[in-house]
Symmetry: D2
């Protein structure tokens, strides 16, 4: 298996105290995942040295993800917020570098919120500039930025893979790539598998989320086709499972994400199933790809 | 075909001036739809007598739909907003009665907004009470209320068919039924077709919307299975196509719905395709149902 | 997991010598399957005592399956062939009883061949009579007969679940049940998942086969829906994986089954994947079923 | 719509008498199809001049299809049968030329039968030689040969698109192309849509058949994905609907095809639905393809 498999920390914990860190890192490693994705907390809430030690002890790595808040909206066209956003992004890249992360991902290109107005060309151009500078800085640490394509209720900038490819091409850096998420693709893409194929080598990060953000397979997402597409393009980046339940996640995140019911109570059962689901789907997708080889004429 | 087929007025127009009314009613009828669904406007903006004449002339009927606004949130537990909501609902029921409508539907049970807190038991109990009184009033006019199940970003009260069935049972009126929408089901239901089967006779209204609210079939929704389920339960109520593009819909609705790109420019092409798509799917689903009959042993 | 998971012996071996028996039983048990399905060989080729010891040692059980040949066609209306078929069926039931099998399954109702004429009412009535007597005998040993529904190229009698339900009802015994196979359903059923639901408590045996008889998931079968249907009806009988490749299967079976290419070379890799695939699908299907429980209103 | 839409004559008639010809041609044209596909009858049974007049009068064209019989098996390696097969193929090409056909298609590469042995390299090499000569002759009349990929029960030579591409490349003529059929692909291909994409410009003919050969949509075939693939590769050749019911088709074809039950009684209803189904699917698939255009960033 060439893809590193990851788990979002919110399956285990809602914050990143030392206890949360130890619990989440241990359980992620126990289930055989290669990495944990941590929602980048405020600098004072992230004990980088402790986290790095726990990761090393457990033998896994960590990536950081974030959604910019409104005050840091680099797509706003507002110089104050753009500067605040750039500072926030650099802070997270610096933390990621200290943690030895390979990726920083999420809604890095705009605010993570329900907008009420469409984006502007000037706002997008500004976001491109900020991300070019941030991407260059990230590149100096060997870090790839993944710009997450999310649904219309979480951003007004990047809702489809096609938009993200164009956006990344405007930035023009090899380490600023498209971050796709099956949960969001289920809402926005006309053909999610084809969107993966069209993204191709521009794909840098992938979130596996079910349509209702619960158990993989218990929803609308056509995972067999998505895995077949990922295998077809030779995607070898991280595959990170993301799921949210009010059992773990508290406010304000429940409110931001719109989590109004418990989709699961036992994160361990959920994650164990996810691990096996992903592994089985990958194996199946590879067999589909190998069929051609078996069809040779005598 | 026993189901009446309908079209949402937003495919043609963004408001309900006399010109808009004439245009929308004419084009809906021309394409062979049986009814038009109108977003219930403010009372002063709805010329009921004129609308009724246009409908009669064109030979189609109209249903009214609405989403309560925050000041009218009957799930808020706040007596002032509950009273305002009840007044608004009664006003729309009265207009529908004058128009000869058979259904009033939409987010009648809470506000149409992105909530940041989960619903409360008291708020839901209050909404049940208001809707019981409103439902009784609607019943006196032969009108069915359809309580629309929407995704987590549009309400925190009814996100799944199962919740809506329970909610309707609490109300306990034969003319207050579940209103399902394939767009929202695609996000929330673990198995949308099975949710339709489980709703069964409680289903009173059905919106056909694609996963990205564009052309039917050009998205994630597994329509063949949904139509098979609708046929299996013998659903004979309205089937109404809903689609939104910034080409027609302006602010504030674009902002509320999160419409950031044009999914189509030509509403006529869109609606003609939808009409044929629905008809073909219904016929196909009926053939699936008839297969059993053809499998008799000699 | 309440279903016993099984594997068809043809994944490992083409015959049932002592060496084949030991190999197939060991490898099936090693991979965590609960039972092995053996194509009932000629009586002289089946060392029942040896097989029983090997099964006991390995801690798994065995079921026997067969397809009647033309000389034993109990649907032929020909008394000679009917008598030969009844004798063959009784012989296999007797062997199964000695092995402690719970099920005898397969094309027990007609010949396993490409027919060129449709079945006759008299032929079918004769098959019903033979199977009633055989079923009574099987019942005395606690054995269930599973009548396999196969595609049009393998029998002209039972091609759909609906036909098989009617056929079993004509027999009228609680231990003569419908045996469905996803490979065949993919060809014949208008809606395979719904066919499982309609079969309900009449379902007694289930073969998991991909559309091209290769790796599960690498074909046309919509397994998530089939597993959801199996869970929905509370099916708790055997789930047996079946796959054929010319790597293992020789003549004449390759010719009978139409196996013209290698769909796999490594039966161990295939079976290990199948075991994990089935387990994951079952778990996923159960989570879909549990969603309703999680949708309670406050 | 750039693809010509066609209908197989067996939807209407089982033979090709003058009455059958008139009926089939008229009804095909009435439903708006562009062409009829006729199973090439024995030369004495085909009144070419009459058929040509009927076609011209009705304003449609005809293609001829056939499956070689065992005595004409050009993949047999037997010089006598190869010569008989080549003569038969040339006879059909000549008839097609007189009719003004653009395509001759079907199982041109081997016998249309249930084989009991795998193909041989020498047999395949012989078939390639015969088809190269036949293809050159066809090319002189502007006719394309479509080599149909069928399931394992109908031939042992070409069961997958991949095999057919390789086979056509061995022939090496621009007018000898791959003929795919969704009915057969449903059984043999690991990923039917991807097989279409991989065939690409080598695709020359396409049969639309449901998994049980009945109503389109009432079976296992994932038509939305297949149409999306056809549109993606820019396929602009014929799309021909094929369906068989014992209502129309008599012996020996029922026996050859394994048709044991009536999947429909009313060919007109079936074909009208097929016409609308195909048109709707094509339109939908084109909208999926157009989505990218709509995702441009501001």
């Amino acid at each position: 298996m060439t893809n590193r498999l990851g788990l979002h920390a919110n399956v285990w914990v809602r914050d990143w105290t030392r206890d949360s860190c130890t619990l989440a890192v241990n359980r992620t490693a126990e289930l055989g995942f290669d990495l944990i994705e941590i929602s980048a907390p405020d600098p004072q809430a992230l004990d980088i040295a402790f986290t790095a030690r726990e990761l090393e002890r457990a033998g896994i790595s960590a990536n950081l993800s974030l959604g910019l808040d409104e005050a840091c909206d680099i797509s706003s066209g507002d110089p104050v917020r753009m500067a605040a956003g750039e500072a926030r992004l650099r802070e997270v890249v610096a933390a990621a570098a200290e943690l030895g992360s390979t990726h920083v991902c999420g809604i890095l290109h705009s605010a993570f919120r329900k907008y009420s107005e469409p984006p502007t060309a000037a706002g997008i151009a500004g976001a491109v500039e900020v991300l070019r500078r941030t991407g260059e800085e990230a590149g100096r640490h060997g870090i790839t930025l993944g710009l997450e394509v999310v649904n219309r209720y979480e951003s007004n900038v990047l809702n489809t893979a096609g938009q993200a490819v164009e956006f990344c091409h405007r930035i023009g850096l090899p380490n600023v790539k498209v971050h796709l998420d099956s949960y969001h693709m289920n809402i926005e893409e006309a053909d999610a598998a084809q969107a993966i194929v069209a993204t191709g080598a521009d794909l840098g990060y992938f979130h596996l989320g079910e349509s209702n953000r619960g158990y993989l397979g218990a929803g609308s997402v056509d995972f067999p086709r998505l895995f077949a597409a990922l295998v077809r393009i030779g995607y070898d980046g991280p595959l990170v499972f993301e799921s949210f339940s009010s059992t773990v996640v508290g406010q304000p995140l429940c409110g931001i994400l719109g989590i109004w019911r418990n989709l699961w109570e036992d994160g361990g059962d959920l994650a164990r199933h996810a691990r096996q689901f992903i592994e089985t789907q990958l194996k199946t997708a590879r067999e589909i790809g190998d069929e051609a080889r078996r069809s040779a004429l005598p």
